[in-house]
């Protein structure tokens, strides 16, 4: 019997190695797997590459992971200058790669979908294109972009069953479905544990085949 539930956050994060690339969803706090992120802080892995929409606000769990010096490189769509991430960057203590948000999403999607590279017009006429491969397609300048796979994806779900099928509420969805597909080890925290079959097959938002471990973190 397939049963992806584990009984603790520690078990969910067992084996996350130093140097791992971590995919972390969330838009603000919405859809961010806070319990798993706190667990990662406790677990101790360092030298991490963190892929996350933003560098986070001060006091957030993301900012804490950064200020603890556990992240070598942050890949995100924006960093506030007046934030821990911004200050670490300016102090030379954090490498940051800033990627337009749609390109960030598409690179993660490409990692999960087995697309080795794609072109996009986004940012082709900006300073982000400096030193990059640019190709004119259909009269439009386009940048070549590569996938952004993770070693680990931390996922925030609303419901999960023992196969790892997941649902998300409203804008909780954001990066969760694409990050779940893009990592070698996908770990989900879920508000609700439901029996297999409780999620109608048309309404599964992330299929269990993309999920390796699930931990139940009730409301």
């Amino acid at each position: 019997m397939i049963d992806k539930f584990v009984h603790s956050v520690a078990a969910a994060l067992d084996g996350v190695p130093d140097g791992a690339t971590i995919l972390l969803p969330g838009f603000g706090d919405v859809g961010m797997p806070t319990a798993l992120l706190e667990g990662l802080i406790a677990q101790g892995a360092k030298d991490l590459v963190l892929v996350c929409n933003s560098g986070g606000r001060d006091g957030s769990a993301v900012a804490r992971l950064l200020t603890l010096g556990r992240v070598r490189k942050l890949i995100c769509s924006f960093v506030r200058p007046a934030s821990d991430a911004g200050r670490l960057l300016l102090a030379g203590k954090l490498e940051v790669e800033v990627v337009p948000q749609g390109t960030l999403a598409e690179r993660i999607r490409a990692a999960g979908a087995g697309i080795p590279a794609f072109y996009t017009p986004t940012a082709a006429d900006t300073v982000l294109a400096e030193g990059r491969e640019v190709r004119e397609i259909g009269g439009r300048r386009c940048l070549l972009e590569y996938p952004l796979p993770g070693d680990v994806a931390l996922i925030d779900a609303w419901q999960a069953d023992r196969w790892g099928n997941l649902t998300f509420r409203e804008t909780q969805r954001n990066f969760n479905p694409i990050m779940a597909m893009a990592a070698g080890l996908t770990v989900a925290q879920t508000r609700h544990s439901v029996p297999l079959g409780a999620i109608p097959p048309e309404h599964v938002m992330t299929a269990g085949i993309f999920v390796n471990r699930v931990v139940h973190i009730p409301g």
Partner: protein, 215 residues
Amino acid sequence: MSASFTPLDRDGMAAWAAADIPEGWVVNLGIGIPTEVANFIPPEREVIIHSENGVIGAGPAPAPDAINPFLVNAGTQPITLRTGGAYVHHADSFAIARGGHLDLTILGAFEVSETGDLANWARAAHEPVKQIGGAMDLAIGAQRLWVIMEHTTKEGAPRLHRRCTYPLTAKGAVKRVYTNLAVLDVTPDGFLVRDIVPGLSFEDLQARTEAPLRR
């Protein structure tokens, strides 16, 4: 005579743009004044507001006692969903933007050029701390891009330029600009003044604008 006009406030600019959005359009509203445009679209005029964190059909802010912590817009403000709305994930949401499915995107800006270049994300070309977000994707993808911004900086320097001085968000993308003084279309021949606040002359508007204006 140039003292006899009143520049529009934020609400005035938002209302000016809102009046030009027809029913049925799918519209993304950037952070800041653009977001406020939604407040001036009467609810019976069905305009579908897209928010790049995965909302199709965003509605107005909820009552303070009815906030749903799972439902925010691209500025992470609490919102509601209109009847008929839907949710998608982030890649699908930017497929909407980049794929040309937005009839309109309205963004704020630091500068706009007479060729429609947009500069709205940085004041120096190589700022190490970059705040890009989704603006570049939105700017290149929409069927039409409008900008809402003050006509000049706080210091009175023009923001409508022949060429942008700040790093670009997108090239040749802006179709129309709503400022606190005027509405201007970006045409192959440069800025065309469509409307102007009462009491301000074309010449006085030109004096506040680096790029040459047409009427």
